[in-house]
Structure formats: structure tokens, C-alpha cells
Symmetry: T
Subunit: 148 residues, 12 copies
């Protein structure tokens, strides 16, 4: 289709602090810089991104629901909701779009309560552990997937 692919980029709770919180762990890149980098990467591949960060589960679910018919794929870092939100999972299932899950840190190598993801079961795939780069790799994977 000649129309550009539209990708929804969702950042869950606390990701707005990126670049300012615990930089020795998460690096110095801010969320705005990540969104900017994703926008450029998308553009280079003839796609567009729409980005949203929220600390509110409900705001994220509202946005996912609005994606139907408007968006072609979702790139999501659910933050702490990864491990606790069945509602977020249900929203992602309901929107019937390809989902790619990304994490800054390698969640499988952290506390036991971070080993389970409610999102993984409904996602195409996961990229975790590469800091801000996880987003870029995830976007590439999602665009590739949509090109199939």
C-alpha cells in the first residue's frame, strides 16, 4: 500500500523519567530523544510513528483501543504493567494488530516477579536488554513483520 505504515509507540509507567533516572542503569538518552530517533527510522522506511507515554494504565488502554483502523502495528514497553496487567493484555488482544514488546533492561535477569509477562503471550516477539536500542530494534522488527 502506498500510504505510509502508522506505528503506535507506547511507553508505560515511569518511562518518562528515562535519561534522568538511574542513568548508570538506563543510560542518558531521554524518551523524547528515543521518540525522535524512532520517527527518523520510521520515516527512512516510509512509515510514521505516534508516541504516547503514560503512568496511567487506563490511558494506555484507551489509546490502544483507538488504534483500530488507524494504526498498523504497536511497539510497546509496558514498564511495570508488563507483569501485572491483564487489562492491558486484553486491550492488545482486542485491537487485533501485531504487537512488539520491548524492554530497556533484560527482565529475565532481574527479580523473579519480572520474569513473567502478560504481554508476551499476545506479542509477535520481544526485544529486551539493550537500553534505548531495544526500541529501535523492536521497530525494525515490527516494520519487517508488517512488510511480509
Amino acid at each position: 500500500m502506498s500510504e505510509p505504515l502508522r506505528i503506535l509507540v507506547l511507553h508505560g509507567p515511569n518511562l518518562n523519567l528515562l535519561g534522568t533516572r538511574e542513568p548508570e542503569v538506563y543510560g542518558h538518552t531521554t524518551l523524547a530523544e528515543i521518540d525522535q530517533e524512532l520517527a527518523e527510522l520510521a520515516k527512512a522506511r516510509g512509515a510514521q510513528i505516534q508516541a504516547l507515554q503514560s503512568n496511567h494504565e487506563g490511558v494506555l488502554i484507551d489509546r490502544i483501543q483507538e488504534a483500530r483502523g488507524e494504526i498498523h502495528g504497536i511497539l510497546i514497553n509496558p514498564g511495570g504493567l508488563t507483569h501485572t496487567s491483564v487489562s492491558l493484555r486484553d486491550a492488545l488482544v482486542g485491537v487485533e494488530l501485531p504487537i512488539v514488546e520491548v524492554h530497556l533492561s533484560n527482565v529475565q535477569a532481574r527479580e523473579a516477579f519480572r520474569h513473567h509477562s502478560y504481554v508476551a503471550g499476545v506479542a509477535v516477539g520481544t526485544v529486551a536488554g539493550f537500553g534505548a536500542r531495544s526500541y529501535r530494534l523492536g521497530l525494525e522488527a515490527l516494520l519487517d513483520h508488517l512488510s511480509d
Copy 2:
């Protein structure tokens, strides 16, 4: 009492998509149609309903709290919050009203993480698995319970 019974009908996250999302699973009835049907059923029994859907746990809790002194019983489909929200449970306990829990699908027959309900422990009873009809049956049960 000659004053009509007032029933609060609460729909949790993602239930606004009813009738449009996965119709082969959930049927074609929309939430508005359900609310309309419940209103008529209530009216026929001399009761009234007030309905609210939200994807925000906090909005649901706020509404539950306001029900004290104003509402006689709550009919709730907590959606994904069923399995994850202690706060919702605490709100329902705090309002000290009869609660009936309904589910569109038969949650005990789905994924293991849907087998536990935080709401069940504080509800009069549960109706699950009958699609949009679960609401109607649940409302009947609640009105009967209130007539005792």
C-alpha cells in the same frame, strides 16, 4: 420501599469494545444495547440502573465509593481487573452493598491466570459464560436478592 431500587452497573476495562471486538467470541451485542436491555429489565421490576464503563481502575473505584447512600446494589463485570485488583475489592468491601459479579465468558475454562477472582470473595454470587445474557441474569439475581 416505594422508592425504586437503584442499581449501579459497572463495566471494567475493554468492555466498551463489546460487539465490535472478536464477535465470534463475544457476540454482536454492544455495551449500549446491554445497558438498554438492563434498563428495561430494571424498569419492568420497578428499579433503575446507572451504568458506567471505564478502562481506568481509579474511575471505577471513585464511582463505587460514591454509591454509598445512593445505590442499593452493584452489578459488576470487572474485566481484566477481576484477577489483579485488590484496590477494586477493597472499594467493593468498603461500600457495604450487595455485589453480583458477571463475566461474558466462562473464566474458569480459560487461562489459569483467569481462575482467581479478587471480587468473588466479596460478592453475593457470580454469573459467567453466557455472553451478554450474563448481565441480565446477574441483574435478576441482584434484584431478587434485594427483595428478600
Copy 3:
């Protein structure tokens, strides 16, 4: 079909004591009264019920097996067998009819060993917690389901 729907109503162990045992918990309605009420409700909707109570798992299974080709749906309160009988579940699967599971009490709010149901996984839906009314609501749900 002009022929009336035939519904098998099964009551598991100890339900024959209904109305006499712990009335403060289970109410004063007897099983005979419930069956009478279900018969009338069925008749009003052009259906018939056949009811059986037994304390013997084997008797219940025998009856379920005989239902093939003769019965259109089963309304069952498996009592204590709910939580322990794989054989009952296998019988219900084998008869290939719609099943509705009912419970007098809200089993999810009682002892942990009552939280799992072998029947739920093979039933259309569940009604629990409304005393004798659970049966009536379950029958309505089953008849509605059969009308689809």
C-alpha cells in the same frame, strides 16, 4: 423444532438435604420445590425437565450417558463432586450436550479446595451464590443458549 426441549437436571451428593440442612446458609426451599419450580419455568418456555438427585457418582454418570439422543441440555449442580471427579467431567464431555453448572453458594468465596471445578472446563457457563435461585437462572441461561 415443535417438539419441546428436554432438559436433564442433576443434583449431586447431599443436595437432597436442601431446605433441611443448615437453613441459615442454604435457605428453606427443598429440592422438590426447586424441581417443581424448574418444571414450571420450563413449561412456560415450552420445555420439559427430568430431574435426578444422587449421592452416588456412578448413578449420575449412568444418567448422563443415557441422555444422548434423548436430552437437549444438562443443568447440573455437582455438589462436592465438582472439585474431585474427573469421571463426571469425562461423562459430561462424552454426552456432547450443552452443560450449565450451578451452585447454591459462591464457591469461589469458600475454602480453597472449592475454588477449582472439573466441570467448569466443559460447561457453557456457571451460576453460583444465589441459593435456590441459581438453578432458575441457570435453567434460563441454558434454554436461551439452546434457542440460539
Copy 4:
């Protein structure tokens, strides 16, 4: 009360084999001898026993239900049903009589699946591990309990 106390003695599955099966484990006393001994012990204390053994869960439940208004206490060795029957437990609760649970062997010292008893939670007390003597001690305990 001048009328003699009537005690129902129930033996669960496989206890009819007593004295013939694995005598090195269970001793050479037969069930008839145990019942005889219990009858004499009861008589000496101005009581009567009615004994029943069955390999059928349903038969045991039927008998328990009939005990209401006719029997003053139940002495039961539930055999393998101890660990698996919620229905038996429900029957014992429903009859609202004092229950004493006995076992020939020391069940807590055997396979893990014998460590849990559904009956214990609704019994006055338990005697286990003393072979045929467990019954006699259990009967004494039950009669003493009834004399309080």
C-alpha cells in the same frame, strides 16, 4: 437421657478385607470382630452401635444422611475416601453430629497423598495408628464427648 446413645460406626472402602489383607500390616482382627468388640464396649457404657461397611461412597453418604434424629454420634474410618471425598465431608457437616475419625495406620507417616484429610476439618478428633484398637479408643472418645 435414659435412652441409650446410638453410635453409627462407618467403615470406608476396603476395610471389609481387614484381618485377611496384609495381616503383617493390619493385624489378624476381622471387621466383624471389631464391630463385635465395639458393640460390647458400647453396651458396657449403656450405648448401642450400628455398623456399616461399604466400598461405595454413595452408600456411606446415604447412611450418614439417615443418621439425623436417629443417631447421637459417628465413628468413621473413611479409608481412601479420607483424602479424596469432598462429598463425604459435606455429608458429615450436614448431619450436624459429633464425628470421630479413626485410622488403622498412622496416615501422617505414610505417602504424602495420605497426609491431608477432608474429614479432619469437621471432626471432633482423630485416632490413628493403633490398628483395630484405634476404633475402640475412638469410640471411648466419642462416648466421653457425648457425655459432656
Copy 5:
């Protein structure tokens, strides 16, 4: 011994439906045909079978108990009781005969609650997954075992 070996063949709950229930899963062979085939196989090896199917746990236990002194080995498909009946296990232990356990389906590859067998711990061996053939293989194994 010149006298023929006598084998008790036991079929647990729901196996009477064989050949009629879910033929795409269990095949079209009926239980009568299986018993006939086993009788012929036994005869060819100078043995006899006595077959019983019951949906009643108690009936199966009664029959096992009567086998002492009369029967040389037991071939049993316990059906759903496999996973739930300690009493059946106790009966099989009590009769002190070689037991072979058979299953139509490969139970280890089905639902988690079918992975544990109370019978396996007291059996010589198990044959599972080969439909009606599981019986024939099990009988061969039992006769071989008795010939040692």
C-alpha cells in the same frame, strides 16, 4: 499350572461409551469388541478373561476384592478414577495380584490433571496411547509376566 490363567479385565467410568463417543479420538471399536478380542487372545494363550465395566467406583472395588484366590492378574483401564481414587489403589494393593494399567489415550500428553496416576504406583507396568490396542498389548504383557 495346567489350569488356565484367569485374567480380570476392568473398565472404569465412561468406557462403555467406547466406539460411540468421540470416534475421531477413540476410534470405532466398541467395548464388547475389545472384550471379544481379548477373550480370543487369551484363549490362544490358554487363558481366560472375565470382563466388567462400571461407572461406579464401588462396583469396581467390590469386583477387585472378589478376585482373591480366583484370579491370577488384573488388566485395568481406570478411566477418570486413575487420577482421583485412593480407594481403588488400596483395593488393588489389597488383592496382591499383578496389575497392568492401560489407557486408550496418551494421558501424559493431555491436561495436567491427567499426568498423575494413583494406579501406576501399584502396577507392574502401563500401556497408553494406542486406542483399543492398548488393551491387547497390556494383556500380552500381563500374560507374559504371569508366565515368568
Copy 6:
């Protein structure tokens, strides 16, 4: 430092009902009275409090994030979120301030699902079980901690 210590006091879901809900459990003190008492206690020690109650997880996280550079310590009663919110925990970690966790009731003595706290792992300490006094003791502990 001559500038007064600024303490953020956070009350999670349902704590706005304090003093009105289940007074026999939680006492008659309202949240406004608690905040007033804490303000006075703070003032007496040369500190200030800023208090916020919300039923919305997101609102609490937003407020925690704003505390950086503005607040010296956080006193939090997370209510039901204590047991379910990884996002709240992540926010508290991100703000890199001393946290004191308080509970009105003795959560370790209540339902099993209240025994685990996601907040405890990132808090200096916990005060639980003393009703409204838990807050006052928690504030004292926090101010002492900050004085070290």
C-alpha cells in the same frame, strides 16, 4: 539545612473513606484529621507535609515523579496497590528518596494475598497495625531517618 524538610504523604486507593468505612475496624479518624495531625507533628519538628490521596495508580505515580528535587522523603500507605503494583514500586525506586511504608491494619495478619508488599523491598521501614497512629509513627521514623 535551615530550610524545612518537605515530606510527601501519599494515601492509596480507598483511604479517602477513612473514618466513614468500617469504623469498628479502622476507627473514626478521617483522612483530613490524619493529614492535619501529621502537619502539626511535622511543624513541631520544623518540617512540612504535602498530602495526596488518590484511587488512581497513575496519579500517585505522577506525584511521586514530581517529588524529585522538591521533597526529602515519602510517607506512603499504598492501600491495595501494596500487593499488586510493580509500577508504583518502580516510581518509588526512581525518585531516589527515603520511603516509609505505613498500614492501618496489620497486613501480615490478614488474607494471604496481603502478606507480600512490592513497596517493602524499596522502603526504609514499615509501620503497620496501629490504625491512624501508624502514620504518626511512620512520620516520626522518617523525620528521624532524615536527621541522621
Copy 7:
């Protein structure tokens, strides 16, 4: 043997409070009265008892060890140590004497942490739930066992 049987009666932690602590639960009989009753019962059967209560695990173990060659059997109510002391179990194993375990209350019907007994695995049998009578029944069982 013409020499009288010598029985060691051991009472674990807190049993010295018997008759004074929670009499509605444990009755009004004191430990001295129980020991007196046991002494008389023993005497009537040509035996002797030596009784010791201690709140100190070590004192109980010391006493058990001294029993070798001096004592013929041990009647023990381990109190709270039942569920926690491997050392007590090891002492009981080491002394190589018949052990009977008694409990005032029906421990299997109380909190989950009271369902496991380290002593049961090394005891002849258990009597639980009959208050002070548990001791008397346990002593009878032990003397009978020693007479075999």
C-alpha cells in the same frame, strides 16, 4: 516381665498453662490433674509414669535421651514443637522406643502450619482433638502396644 512398665510422659511448650489458658478452648483440667489421672490409669494397669513439662526444646531432648534402658515407651504432646523441631524428632528416633503422639486440639483442623508433624513419622500413632482425654486414650494405646 513382672517389673512394671515405665512410661515417660512429655508435655511440650505452653502445656503448663493448661486449665488456666483459654479454658473455653482447652477445658479446665490442669496439667497436674492430667498427670495424676495418667498415674492412676497406669497404676491400674501395673505401670508407672514419669512426667515432665518444659518450654525448652533442649530439656525435652535431654530427658528423651535419658530414657534409654530406663523407660519402655513415650507419650508425648510436643505442643508447638510438633511442627518445627527436627531435633526432637531425631531424639525420638534415637531412643528407639515406641512413641505415641497426643494433641489436645484437632491439629488437622487448625491453621495450615499445624497440619504437618515431624513427630508423626516416627510415632506408632496419634490421638488428637479430645482435650485432656487425648492423653488418657494415648496412654491406653501405648500400654496396649507394649503388651503385644
Copy 8:
């Protein structure tokens, strides 16, 4: 009552090392200093304390038992016994006095085996994580509780 409140302060195993062991974790305050501080705090509020430290579970239990009729409340840091001693819990229940549990460190944030407390279930409340200050806060809470 004009008579001063008498508070028993109990320190479990290893707390005698306070101030000398791992000062970087537990601070430099010694147990004697803590007792002195508590005595002064008590005196200022018209109360008295009696303090005891022991590494012996039995000594602690003995002391708790003697508190009946003599003491008005117990402040206890059970040390390692927190997680292992049912006997200590039983003693605290038996004495029927208000209990406050204190811990130097935030036990919920340490090894998993420190997350469960046998004492919490029978205490009014808990203070944990504030080093020597936990005692002072706990004493305040206990005195307040006794003043109600």
C-alpha cells in the same frame, strides 16, 4: 488506673550483640542503651518496663507465661525465632496481652525466609526497619494502644 502500666520488653536471640555486631548494618547503639532509652520513654509516660534478652526460646516462653496478671503489654523483637517458632507464638497467644512486634531491619526486604512471621498473626502491629528506633516507636504504639 493510677498504677503505672508495666511493659515487658523481650529481645530474642543474638540481640545482645547489638551495637557490637555489624555496626554498619545495625548501628552503634547497644541493647543496654536501648533498654535505658525505653525506660526513660516509659517513665515519661507514667509506665515501667521490664526487659529481658535471651538466646533461649524456652527462657523467653517462660518469661512470657509469667507475665499474666503482672504485665499490661509486650514489646518483642523475636529475632530469628520470628520465622521459626510456633511455640513462641502459642505463648504470646496464651498470655492474652497486647503484643507489638519490632525488628531492627526491614525484614520484608531481606531473604525470603524472613518474609513470614509467626508473631505477626497474634500482634497488634509491627514496626520494622528503623534500627534501634523501631523499639521506641513500638513502645509508643503499645502505650497508645493501652491508653485506648
Copy 9:
């Protein structure tokens, strides 16, 4: 097809010791004898076997992979790998052939760590407990399965 069926017989680690190791448990038949017997049984039914034993998981996986297009079915006794090797399972899945799993001993009746099989989930069926005969029965079952 007129071409003979080719069956791959795989023996996992330690099965080369058969007949020499613990003969009282595993009998005196050697692996060579078993392979010979299987070859004759196969020949009698117009089939051929290719047998391989290895203590190396990798060697077994290599051989399974080579079976594609060359072999019609696999008879495997995975030995200790049954319980530990996901890679072996993946190889068996990948080769897309019917698999029959055999065990000399009745694994479900041995240590708990032998109760789970990674192979069972991808096999047609299982024969266990009949010593060397398990292979012969398994081969018969496999050939029958292939004849369908």
C-alpha cells in the same frame, strides 16, 4: 506400500549396560538380544529395524534428524534424557514421524523426578514397566499404528 517399513530403534544413555547392570531389576537380556528380537519381530511383519544406542544426547539427535525421508517410525527408550532433554523432544517433533516411547521400568512408580517425560507430549503412546518386553510391545504398537 510394497517396500518394507523401516523403524528406527533408539536406546538412550546407560541402556548398553542392559543385562549386566542390576540384573535383579532389569533382567538378564542384553541390548543386543533385544535388538535381535526386535529385528525378528519386524521381519515377521515385513518391516526392518535400525538400532542405535548412545550415551550422547547429541548423537541421538543427529540420528533422529537423519531419519527424515528414510524412516517410517521411531521406537525410543530415552533413558535419563526422558526427564531432562528439551532438545531431544524438539528433534522428535522436527522429524515429523510417529514416535513410541518405551521404558524398562514403570517410571511413574519411581522417584518423583522420573514422573515427567518431555517425550510423552510428542509420542503416539507409551509402554513402561515390562522390562525387555516393553520394546517388543512398543514395536508391535508402532507397526500397528503405521498400518492404519
Copy 10:
């Protein structure tokens, strides 16, 4: 450093079947094509790859050990060993190089036994679910990581 980065690419058991096995799941790309693609991608970034596939855990460990001083980073798809091999993990730790873990499928969305990875705990990050693309993304992530 002007010398090119050398990356070891390791493919675990069964990955040699890629492109031929279950193409509807894993796609049609062969392992040789993947290695070729990775070589080109590496070359474009001034790096080199050395690739090895083996079904033998030991061969993989040998190769990892040889990587010290010769290789700058490891890209590994451990296949089924992901979930079972502590030895592979130990080898990866011992070589003290950055590790990136890749999987063709989204392992968190498959069987429960695939949810745990022994490699994740020692890896920089993980890419899973994108078929052959997972490798390419993983190599990019590894090269980026090495460039930091």
C-alpha cells in the same frame, strides 16, 4: 581498534533443520542463508562472524571456551538447551564476553517449560519471536553494544 570485531555465532540443537522443518512455523530460510546474511551484515559494519551449529552440548561448550582472547562477543540461539543446561550457562559466564541470546519463536508465549532461560541471566539482552530476523537484530544489538 582497527582490527575487525570477531563475533561467534552459535546455533544449538535442531537449528540445522531450519528452513526444512515446519516451514509454516519457522519460515523457509535455511541456517546457511542466515549465516550468510549475518556475515554480510557484519562485513558492512567492519566485523566478522564465525558460525557453528551443533546438536551436542559439549561441542558448543568447547567452542565457547576457545573463544577467549579470540572473539569479542557471542550471539547464541541455544535451542532446547536454553531451558536445561547449567553447563552452557557456566561456559558463557566463564568466557567473560558479552552474550546476546536470540530465539526464532517467542518462547515466553509457548509451553511453560520454555519460559525459563538459563542463558538470560548471563546475557546482555534477548531478541525473540522474529524468525530468522531475530539473528540479524541480535547481531546489530551486539555490535552496537561492543561499540560503546
Copy 11:
């Protein structure tokens, strides 16, 4: 240091029975002989031992605490306390000396409740399974460790 190394040798509950209890399991060497042997081994290496056995947890903890500044290392066989005593562990941590844990039997090969050791987590190492020799090997290991 020219001053001899002083080693505290601690024997937990029931070890005083060594050589007399179950000699077929534990051998005929008495504890006095072990202490004597250890003293000679120590002397030969220029060290001294101080030995203590107690059945009282508190006595062992008291002795451990006194070791500070006086002792260079501790050799301990905690007996049954290994698996149950957090207080003992805390004492060993508090004394800040190298600890070597020894066991007569191979505890990992016994009952499941002996598989966990509270001491292991704070010990240099463990020697188990060699009877009285475990002590000698443990002492050698401790002296070697202290010589580093």
C-alpha cells in the same frame, strides 16, 4: 601468627548419642573419641580445639557469641537445627568467623526436609556423609582455610 589457632567445635542436638545410637548407621565412634581425634589432629598442626555438645539451641548460640576475639574458626555439626534454626544462622553470621559445616550422613540423600540448610549460606564449605570422618576432613579444611 605464632600463637596457636583456636577452633571451636560445636555438636548440635543428639550428637552426644554418637556411637551408641543406631551404630549400623552412624558407626561405633563416640563423640568423646571424635573430640579426642580432632584435638590430636589440631595439635599436629599447631592448633587447639574447644569442643561443646548441647541439645539446647540457646547454649550453642551463647557459645558462638563468646567466640568473638577468642576463636579463629568454627567447625559445626548443627544436627537437626541445620534445617530449622534461623537464630543459629544469625549467631554464626554475627561472630564473623570462618564456619565449616559437617554432617555424619549425606543429608542431601535423606528426607526432603533435610535438603535445606540454614547454615550453608553462611559457611565456607560443607563435608557430609563420611560419618565421624566428616569432622576430621572438615577440621583439615578449616585449618587450611585459616592458613591462607
Copy 12:
């Protein structure tokens, strides 16, 4: 016997790296040096060792099997296979020789997945935590054991 005792020394995966990998954890002694030291210790006691290290489970099992009739005892450090290899355990059982298990680190004090050993259940005893010395102590223990 005048012929020297022959001891097989087996080193599992990754132990070839000893002395080069993480020397701060495992020390600087190489495996060759350990084997040399063991050879000398053996020689001094009139014994001989044969040593083998392999990263291949299968190679280790092959070597164990060849030990029958040639070797008198096995000293094994199974490395990561300790926790995962049932096949290795089976090989050790099959060879019917005394086994001593050694570990460089104190495995019980490391990650939870290292707490279980498949080898412990079939070994005489274990030495863990003393680095290269664990081997020497283990060899002494094995030679002593063989001298009995």
C-alpha cells in the same frame, strides 16, 4: 588387597578452565595441578588415580561405564551437570562403586537452581566449598571409605 586401589577422578563441564577463569573465585590452581596433587596423595596411600575432564555428558557416562571391574571408587565434580543430568546419575548407580561428590564452591550458598544435586542421592558423601582442596579432602574420604 596388595594391588593398589584405582580411583577414577572425573571433572565435568568447564572445569578445564580452572585456574584461568575467574581466579578471584576459584583460585589459581589449574586442573593439571589438581590431578598431579591427587596422584601424589593417592600414591602416598598406595593408590592410583585416572583422571578425565570433559564438557560432554556422554563422554563422562562412557568413562563411568568402563570403570566396572577396573576401578574401585569414583571422585566426581559434575560441574553444571550436578543439577541437570539424570543420565549421569543413572550411570553412577549402574557402575555400583562408591562415589564421592566434590564441588569447588559451596553450591548450597549459590543460586537456587544449584541447591539440588542428582548425584548426592547416589553418593557416599559430599565435600563442597573449599576450592581445589575439596578434591583432596574428597579423595581422602574415598580412600578411607574403601579401606573399611
